[in-house]
């Protein structure tokens, strides 16, 4: 719990540091607010986006990205993208390799075939 709290505070401060340069100057209304479908810029939403960002950054670090790289990567995501990824980093698509792809597809089909061969007669 203590570790979690410490981690959280660190991330919070780190995100404050990255977040600050992107806030529009006082008095100006940002372009993102112009295109927002709803003018829902409530504090609750801001906190939600902020927490999701911290979560995604932590998840990137857990998957082998350094703190510095994770910060830079998260800050290039939009709020919507952050919400799409938060908590789902293990299940969403991650494009990888093809070298073994077709062979693997074949292997899977053959596996099903073998399974059927072995278990189907027994089930009779």
């Amino acid at each position: 719990m203590k570790v979690f709290f410490r981690r959280f505070v660190c991330q919070f401060l780190a995100l404050c540091l990255i977040g600050l340069p992107f806030t529009v100057q006082a008095g100006m209304i940002g372009t993102d607010e112009v295109i927002a479908q709803s003018q829902d810029q409530s504090d609750r939403n801001k906190v939600r986006d902020f927490m999701a960002r911290a979560e995604v950054q932590q998840q990137l670090q857990d998957h082998g990205i350094t703190l510095q790289a994770a910060q830079a990567r998260v800050s290039a995501l939009t709020d919507l993208e952050v919400q799409q990824v938060a908590g789902r980093i293990d299940s969403i698509p991650a494009g990888a390799d093809t070298a073994a792809v077709v062979v693997t597809v074949l292997a899977v089909i053959l596996l099903i075939y073998i399974l059927l061969q072995h278990f189907y007669p027994k089930a009779k």
């Binding site: 008095g27 209304i29 810029q41 494009g95 093809t98």
Partner: protein
């Protein structure tokens, strides 16, 4: 990879596993080709296997050339699992960014997943100063972008539901008469393949396809609202200079777009060009007289340029329009009043 597979099979049947391993090792590529060739006529007969290709074959849109191939899209061979960085490097270099595939590994590759996430492909394009745009999930949209000279990064899934195999590649051409799509993919430079098969593997991942646009150009199939969102994302990624060019390009296609006017103003302001910002906001307020953000930002820039009376009148108009941004416009008006009061003293 094959070793792991053999272990998997051993649980079911030792003999089968040995047979299978031997089979896979010896048959190799020949087998793959045979498999695809034998499966094709079978799959061709299935309705719904590649519905968009069928529709395209039934009637080709008049504006779509029958054959296109880009010869100037550089090819980067991928290392193991690095199809994300490699595909992105090809698209970015084609758009004029000199970046190597290795340099992009740090921006998109996720070691824990041995792959690259879709959103990070978009984000990394932005970090390199390009507008990352998710095109419509239509085969015709991909082909139209290619016909317009933009390579398209696509995500396919070669696996089955319980064993997905995701892969990025770059579409560089097509030939509708031959039913072919041409891609740079994996270890293959310029690999033509059947369009139907491509659609089959592509539609499993909801037909995900993106372009990385140089800010001077707008994608052929872009829609106004969604492209504005894509440019705003570029602006928010700290790329004010490129975003400003992209907003100006947007205005050439959609001259009345409010977000583009506002974005051009906001990025000019962020770059310290207050004079240009004033001019953009003035245009925004002229084309959209009821836009609170346009009036508010115009008032703010007028204030900073010392045109206090005009700033005050503009801010009052913004406040008069009310709406959810009222607290912000009031703040702007208060600031102007304060300035005016301090000048009188």
């Amino acid at each position: 990879m094959c070793g792991a597979k053999t272990r998997m099979f051993a649980g079911f049947s030792f003999i089968s596993a040995r047979l299978l391993a031997g089979f896979l090792f010896t048959a190799g590529r020949c087998l793959t080709v045979c498999f695809i060739l034998s499966a094709l006529p079978l799959l061709n007969g299935c309705a719904g296997f590649a519905p968009q290709t069928d529709a395209l074959n039934a009637q080709r849109p008049a504006d779509l050339p029958p054959r296109v191939e880009m010869r100037d899209v550089p090819y980067f061979p991928q290392d193991e699992y690095h199809c994300g960085p490699a595909s992105l490097a090809m698209a970015l270099n084609a758009s004029g960014v000199k970046v190597s595939s290795a340099a992009l590994v740090d921006q998109v590759y996720l070691p824990g997943r041995k792959g690259s996430l879709q959103v990070e492909m978009l984000a990394a394009a932005r970090r390199n100063g390009r507008v990352a745009y998710l095109i419509d999930p239509e085969l015709t949209a991909v082909l139209r972008e290619v016909a317009a000279g933009t390579p398209v990064i696509v995500l396919e899934n070669f696996g089955v539901p319980f064993y997905p195999l995701w892969h990025y590649s770059v579409v560089i051409g097509y030939d509708l008469q031959r039913g072919e799509i041409i891609r740079h993919t994996g270890k293959h430079e310029r690999a033509p393949g059947p369009l139907r098969l491509f659609e089959f593997f592509w539609q499993k991942e909801n037909r995900w396809a993106i372009v990385a646009m140089p800010p001077e150009r707008v994608p052929a199939t872009a829609t106004e609202q969604r492209y504005a969102e894509a440019v705003v994302a570029l602006e928010k990624a700290g790329q004010a200079r490129n975003a400003r060019i992209a907003y100006e390009s947007m205005l050439k296609r959609w001259p009345a777009n409010l977000a583009a006017h506002m974005g051009a103003g906001n990025t000019s302001y962020a770059l310290g060009d207050i004079e240009a910002a004033e001019s953009w906001f003035r245009q925004a307020a002229k084309t959209h007289p009821d836009s609170v953000p346009a009036l508010n930002n115009l008032a703010q820039t007028l204030l900073e340029r010392g045109k206090i009376d005009e700033a005050r009148a503009t801010a009052e108009r913004a406040v008069g329009l009310g709406g959810p941004l009222l607290p912000r416009t009031r703040e702007t008006l208060d600031e102007i009043n304060k300035r005016q009061a301090s000048q009188k003293n």
